[in-house]
């Protein structure tokens, strides 16, 4: 409660102290613009991180428990080998279900590359069998040996070969997003520190007079800290609002669009945007505090 009271007191400020320190125009604009631009970028970095996280989770979940058996055989043996493979799979420990994909399903898989009018009948395509694993999974090497013995044209692909790199790439993207947010916060802090230093230098005479008449450093610093914190809060709120509108204008997620159309925020993640102006204000508060105390320490 006392923290809340302190925050409220800080936001309300001391009108006399505010009046004593005149605002310097260009630092106002610099702080508001920097905070707005940085908040705009954070919105996208956040959206990228969260989308990458969702993608990594989805791919990890979906691919981790599925495998594919591909049967390449002469047309007259295809049905027999498919049935033999299904029999092997049904009797394999760790396989929850196995089913051969229909022609329509195979056509749907190939449609993005060859178009919807693909004449599958005329092409020597392998038969695909989708395998869903139990939670404990199956012994891939053992299954490969059994398939090699009983279904010569079958090849087991448990996705491990490419699942790892894909999930790793998505995880890296997630990390990259968060690193970007941290870097943007640091850059915001640096810019606000520069602006605060400029404002302190421009007000050197004011500070000297206030010290002369008995003002404590904390009193003088408070006037600058409050001003820069509120400017950063306002600028970041504007930047976040524009970022959110830009996200809304992005195409919605769709199967066709794949990853690129899933960049927007989903559900409760929209509420995370509220944190961006607050984060900017916190960064501004501490950046200005550091700058003010460093400057004041050098004065008598």
């Amino acid at each position: 409660m006392s923290v809340l009271r302190s925050v409220i007191d800080f936001a309300i400020g001391d009108a006399q102290a505010e009046k004593a320190v005149p605002p310097t125009g260009f630092t106002v604009r610099l702080t508001v613009f920097s905070a707005a631009a940085m908040a705009f970028l954070v919105v996208f970095a956040l959206a990228l991180s969260l989308a990458a996280g969702r993608l990594a989770d989805r791919w990890s979940d979906e691919l981790a428990r599925s495998a594919t058996v591909r049967i390449s055989a002469p047309a007259e043996q295809m049905a027999a080998q498919t049935e033999a493979a299904l029999n092997v799979l049904r009797t394999t420990e760790g396989v929850e279900s196995a089913r051969a994909l229909s022609l329509d399903e195979q056509r749907a898989l190939l449609a993005p590359w060859f178009g919807p009018e693909l004449p599958l009948d005329a092409l020597p395509l392998p038969q695909m069998i989708e395998v869903i694993e139990t939670a404990s999974g199956f012994d891939g090497d053992g299954l490969r040996l059994r398939l090699a013995g009983e279904v010569p044209g079958a090849v087991l692909d448990n996705h491990a070969r490419w699942r790892g790199p894909v999930v790793s790439a998505a995880s890296s993207l997630l990390l990259l997003g968060w690193v970007s947010i941290v870097l943007i916060a640091l850059a915001t802090g640096a810019m606000i520190t520069l602006a605060a230093n400029a404002a302190l230098a421009a007000n050197a005479q004011v500070i000297a007079v206030m010290r002369l008449v008995g003002a404590r450093d904390s009193y003088i610093a408070q006037a600058f800290m409050r001003r820069f914190t509120l400017r950063a809060l306002a600028g970041a709120a504007g930047g976040t609002l524009f970022g959110a509108l830009a996200l809304l204008l992005l195409p919605s997620a769709s199967e066709e669009g794949g990853f690129l159309t899933g960049l927007g925020l989903q559900g409760a993640h929209w509420f995370l945007l509220i944190l961006i102006p607050i984060l900017a204000a916190v960064v501004a508060f501490f950046a200005t505090r550091l700058a003010a105390h460093n400057t004041l320490r050098s004065l008598t």
């Binding site: 206030m210 008995g214 003002a215 404590r216 450093d217």
Partner: protein, 237 residues
């Protein structure tokens, strides 16, 4: 008020003990020892560059001596935190030659600044403030900005600001440097009046006429910085 002075007689407001001060290799003064007693009146003289302003800055903690000890209200300035120094300045009124006002605030707001920074509410109708402005003859200039004031008005305003916290000590650095003779006499009268009210006064000035005029009305000690030493009326202290 005199009773208060008598009560404080045993206290040392500002004390120098074998103080030396140097600027980038050049020594301004050394071996300076002095004690400002409550209710005393001092003039500090010396040629330009002799260290009068530095001496006053040492008196209110704006500088720390190169060697020796300066005690303000019995506290060693070296041991004082920046907050302690700030609190000390509320008990030491300082009047500079260049006055140092905030040009964007009105005269009333400038005079109330020491009250404001020490946490008092904004006192636009504060009786003390009004009385003080009347005492220095600036009631009609309350809403003027500092650049609109004449040199004499600025000096009187600086004196009023130095007094608003009712300090124990008033340090004035060439307070009559930018004003004519008549105004300097008026300022001197105000300072003598303050001394009679019990305030300890130290005025740094090279204006010997001002010192002579004061000696007719107040028992003042004249200190002179000469050849890096502080002397009293021609003799080493």
């Amino acid at each position: 008020m005199r009773a208060e002075v008598m009560r404080q007689k045993g206290r040392k407001l500002i004390e120098f003990e074998r103080v030396a001060h140097s600027y980038s290799g050049g020594e301004l003064f050394n071996e300076v020892s002095l004690r400002l007693a409550p209710g005393s009146f001092h003039f500090l003289t010396g040629p330009s560059g002799s260290g009068k302003t530095t001496f006053l800055k040492l008196c209110y903690g704006a500088l720390v001596p190169s060697s020796g000890v300066v005690r303000i209200f019995e506290e060693d300035v070296r041991q004082m935190s920046r907050d302690d120094i700030a609190l000390t300045r509320r008990r030491v009124g300082v009047v500079h030659q260049d006055c140092q006002f905030l040009d964007h605030l009105t005269l009333r707001e400038n005079l109330a600044l020491p009250l404001t920074v020490s946490g008092h509410e904004a006192l636009d109708d504060d009786a003390n403030l009004k009385e003080l402005m009347g005492w220095v003859g600036l009631t009609t200039r309350a809403d003027a900005l500092p650049p609109e004031l004449s040199g004499g008005e600025r000096q009187r305003a600086a004196l009023a600001r130095a007094l608003i916290m009712s300090p124990d000590v008033i340090l004035a650095d060439e307070p009559t440097g930018n004003v004519d003779w008549e105004m300097s006499q008026r300022l001197l009268t105000l300072l003598i009046e303050l001394n009679r009210m019990g305030k300890t006064i130290m005025i740094a000035t090279h204006d010997l006429g001002l010192i002579r005029a004061a000696k007719n009305h107040v028992q003042a000690r004249v200190l002179r910085i000469s050849e890096r030493r502080l002397q009293l009326a021609g003799a080493d202290l």
